[in-house]
């Protein structure tokens, strides 16, 4: 049975698109047929991060409006045959999306794909609402600072009350915490919230910590999802996250100081 994953946060700039690209690639690399959809209509970014911006012909809105078929709009990834990208429209705005249209596309994708990753726009308005409405799982990307944590909390409330699962009284969306741009040095200095602080406020299952890393920016600029940079800390963090999501038991990394010995792992609560 296909699963729809929404990557969301409430706040902007926390790493949703980076995360969407990385986990979609990670799932595909594990052999699961995966589609990743850019819900940020009007501020199209995912295609850049995925390095397929030059191959965009049709987009999400074209498919919703019936101007193109789903197969015409889906772009197959260069690096992984199991991964497809459905880009957002840059010339439209979020009103071009309708709940019915999105539902139809997701239903069609579910027949063919194992995982469908929805890259949510920031905010809690229509775009973000539609991105999470049909989800089975939610990856809540949070930075270790108070406003991001507060916004994530708000988003969790929306997931719990406004999703299709909530409206139909089905089993609630499974929520996972991804703490991104984490810097143990700054946590030590008291400039950042610690993993424990964030866990205490959100009380959410921690799927992984992604360290603040230059490799993320490099990967974005070159259009290659950071998970493919296997030597980088961020790439490894995302690989761990995908493995944990798929049921592997991997100890948490990158929570402690980098100077700490590599093998010194810290378990989450």
């Amino acid at each position: 049975m296909a699963r729809i994953i929404v990557v969301t946060s409430g706040k902007g700039g926390v790493g949703k698109t980076t995360t969407s690209a990385a986990i979609a690639m990670g799932l595909a690399k594990k052999g699961h047929k995966t589609a990743v959809i850019d819900f940020d209509v009007g501020l199209r970014n995912l295609d850049l991060i995925m390095g397929c911006e030059r191959r965009v012909v049709y987009d999400f809105v074209n498919v919703i409006n019936g101007e193109a078929s789903l197969n015409q709009a889906l772009i197959r990834d260069k690096n992984c045959k199991q991964l497809y990208i459905l880009p957002a429209s840059q010339t439209r705005d979020k009103d071009a999306l309708s709940q019915e249209g999105v539902g139809k596309i997701l239903d069609a994708l579910k027949k063919d794909f194992k995982y469908i990753v929805c890259d949510s726009p920031a905010g809690i308005e229509k775009g973000a609402h539609l991105a999470m409405y049909f989800a089975d799982d939610a990856f809540v990307v949070t930075n270790p600072e108070v406003s991001s944590v507060r916004d994530s909390d708000r988003m969790l409330g929306i997931l719990a009350s406004k999703s299709r699962r909530a409206e139909r009284n089905e089993e609630p969306i499974k929520e996972y915490l991804l703490l991104s741009r984490y810097s143990p040095d700054r946590v030590k200095l008291g400039e950042m919230l610690s993993v424990d602080d964030v866990q205490e406020i959100l009380s959410l299952h921690l799927l992984g910590v992604i360290p603040e890393s230059k490799s993320v920016l490099n990967a974005s600029n070159s259009g290659i999802p950071v998970i493919l940079d296997e030597k980088s800390d961020a790439g490894q963090a995302y690989a761990d996250i995908v493995a944990r999501y798929l049921g592997e038991d991997r100890p948490h990394r990158f929570i402690d100081d980098k100077k700490g010995f590599f093998g010194k792992f810290f378990g989450s609560k």
Binding site: R150, D153, R154, L156, G157, I158, A160, S161, P172, E200, I201, S203
Partner: protein, 244 residues
Amino acid sequence: MSTDPHKTPYAPSVLEFKSSTFSVPVLVLSSDDLVAIEQQLQEKISLAPEFFRNSPLVLDLQELNKKGYDIDFAVLADIVRKSGLLPIGVRGGNVQQNKQALELLIPVYSIHSSGVSADTQKQKTIMPTPEPVTDSASTTLITQPIRSGQRIYSSGDLIILAQVSAGAEIMAEGNIHVYSTLRGRALAGVQGNTEARIFCSDLQAELISIAGNYKISEDLDETVRKKPVQIYLQNQTLIIKDIA
């Protein structure tokens, strides 16, 4: 008007008594100097003449009588009327004053719900919703965390087994129990039930309120913060007690 007792017994009901709450200005007097009262009253009214024109008014004589001043109520009522206000009640008056008030057809209220005393000055009051308190039984049980931006209302008691986040609001006509951290706003007895209580195992609330008497986070004492506590109302004052 006809008061004919032989009227047809099938007449439909033309009236009904209902309980209702109004917000009425209260004039608290602290001197028996009628000249000064009249002068200061005029000054106040001139600040907002439209607001005070034909405004109903309750006269509070409690302070006055505490200080041992006596005042001729009839003269006072006259001063108030001349100022364009309509006295609709008196409270805290002595026997003589109450009698005078009734002679002027001005009702006498009990002092029972008199103003906020000095030791509760940090506590503010929201007017309770003007509906009679009903004995509703339905208890709401919630096992999921209440997130920022969510609002929960229970017409009876509210029991929450998970945390209440900052920016969330939980309201109950009865008691509120939070068996986890309370960071949001908790309002118990929202229909005016002053017997309602709030219980939580970790108090970090933004606001707590019982029957409209509230305290904000800033006013919470450090000795109760982050502690398991119960909160109840005693003489219009919120009492926060450690229940560890």
